[in-house]
Symmetry: C2
Amino acid sequence: MPKTSTNVEVDAPAAQAAGKPQAACRVALLGFGTVGRAVGKILCERNDPTLRLTHICNRNVERKKQSWVPPDVIWTEDFQAVLRSDADIVIELIGGLNPAEQIVRGALQAGKSVVTANKQLIAHVGPDLLQLANSEGCHLEFGASVAGGVPVLPALRTGLSGDRLHGIAGILNGTCNYILSRIENARIPFSEALEEAQARGYAEADASEDLDGGDARAKLAILALAGLHTRVAPETIRARTIRAVDAVDFDYAAELGCTVRQISRADLKEDTLFAEVGPSLVPTSSPFGRVQANQNLVVTSGHYGGDIAFLGAGAGGDPTAVAVVSDLKFVAGNLSARASARGKRAGGEVSIPVSSPKPSSDFETPWYLRFFVRDQPGIIAKLAQILAAHHLNIDAVLQNPGFDKSALPFVITLEPSRDSQLHPALEQMSALDFAIRPCLVLPILP
Amino acid sequence: MPKTSTNVEVDAPAAQAAGKPQAACRVALLGFGTVGRAVGKILCERNDPTLRLTHICNRNVERKKQSWVPPDVIWTEDFQAVLRSDADIVIELIGGLNPAEQIVRGALQAGKSVVTANKQLIAHVGPDLLQLANSEGCHLEFGASVAGGVPVLPALRTGLSGDRLHGIAGILNGTCNYILSRIENARIPFSEALEEAQARGYAEADASEDLDGGDARAKLAILALAGLHTRVAPETIRARTIRAVDAVDFDYAAELGCTVRQISRADLKEDTLFAEVGPSLVPTSSPFGRVQANQNLVVTSGHYGGDIAFLGAGAGGDPTAVAVVSDLKFVAGNLSARASARGKRAGGEVSIPVSSPKPSSDFETPWYLRFFVRDQPGIIAKLAQILAAHHLNIDAVLQNPGFDKSALPFVITLEPSRDSQLHPALEQMSALDFAIRPCLVLPILP
């Protein structure tokens, strides 16, 4: 009962249970940028007896040095020296494919476990690296590679492992969500919202990776690997840009009870993995519709457990560092057990049988088509004719008053159809002379 | 690259990495009610080579038998025989403290790991059982004991272990949330919403445990143990009933931009654990305000990672079974590793240092006070006088027209004050003769 105030240590790791003093895992930190510094700070503040920071490795390391790092930590620019050192775990926070891939392979081949936040690395060669880690008896953990501090990847490994997931959808890119929710709330033009995001440090000078979906589809590929046990090359996932979204789209979306968000989604149906990334209409009453600023949301759909939503800070040094340190503690716990298991890693990880289903972006969904036209008689009639010829059913036509007739925005929504059925109609429409911008086509999600 | 369609098994458990054929863990299922059947069904459908169902134990077991259970599974009424059997893992789904506690202790003492969904057991004696499991080199997992299929407990053990949490809040009781969201959406009386919940099977005939907060505070005690590493006896957590909430409270709450939900919350501040369960005003724009029907939501607040929200089905056979089977896979993975570690369990679990801070319900918060009075001149003046005498600042007075003067509901909201400061004022107000019901006092959460 809680009146006593003695501290009891329950559920201690195996080495301690076996009565041995617990040796600290030696941890080398590769990459000392925003996330690296936050990881270093947590490790130094925590002073966890099971984890000992031994190396910090970065280019131009002299200017990186911090007074709060204990004096026995080795600062170095020599990644190879770290791989030859006695570190047990390497934290890879260099980012990108090159030289990160070589370094991670080198670490695993040297028998070191790896914790990484590198989404491109895992999206592109994750299954290969997992196999290498397995054959070397090491761990490879990447909980920080998707959605920063939101623990969706660890949940897929643990609390959801008893389910059979068939779908994952998410708001995985904070930059896009910041821009879209700013346009939503202030009805400012896209370019102004982008400049604002850049000024606040939420978007880089060249924000193409974010805006055009490259970042999100790498994360979606990782979620598909960990949650749907499928291997999909990120570049085979269709990505649509958010650059064409206009303030007026939020007006029309609102009339449909919706708002616009960049949604990444993957659905496994028999032998096909339906997957895409791009701006989509989502109901304002849905979890997706309520995600503001640079938050991340992931919703998993399971055969037994239904939908589970995870929401939180998707980026930033400290939240991402929580994911890295959590992985680190997991690996260290297993390594300390392995010490008594003579060289092979301990369990606690769930096997990931990986299949490679056919990827497709041919979702069946209702559609939102937004046109900007030079007004003239017969526009709706012409469009309706083309749609009818392709057996596409119009659900609604929305045309708000008050716009300049030389650049008139209006919307047609369609009943559910496959992308492949819609595409030829769009081709035909694009040849019409009254359109002053390409038609914006957004799926309407339930 | 994904064009090949070979299936590779990556990241397989340790026994396989060590080149040995993997022996299945023998699993005994104690309790074959709704959750037990759902667990049995998943295990039989999955046919996971690492898990083998060996026993199903229940009273009157004859009438429980199912055709989909393999013929080699032993059906029995004898719990002690299961404890003497060669089962490696016991799933305890009996519920309640007695005889579940004796059976779980017996299993652990017999060297068997235990997976349980039993919230009362873990809330009351969880730390003792964890210590027993530790000294016996066994696992005790209880991921299904809070929020059913929402993987918040596994997340505390894994993806959030790198953070230092200071608060946890949640909607942990689906029955209360169903009733409150029904009153919100249909403005029906409490009694009618309760009857509806009972008719739909969401509430028992005697729903006191749900309505009066007993169920939720047991879950809050478990979250405080797993997330805040504090031991708190559930009966020391203040629980307020939702029975006094009226349809009119949703009207007044809406004027404040809020709705009413049963919220369980725990905040660790230095040596005090502030904790309580009860109906509270929450902004309709907050994650809490949007939880409908019998869903569960848990929000963790961390020093580094900020707020993370988990939302999903909090009850039901299948979602709860996902949590049980996930724990089972975790334990089985560790046991198969321990097989080569000569008798002591493997790691992968994080140590839980448990402290016992002073529990308190003396939150500092703004307040909502709702009165039902026989109208007469001077009521507001008298109440305002009492509040002023106790240095409590009125924020707003809300009185909607159209009510019977003999039972007039109106609301006073107060600026933040401690519960202990408000209490003497409420005592004094309760003596006033114009009140025809006790004043309803709800905290207003941010």
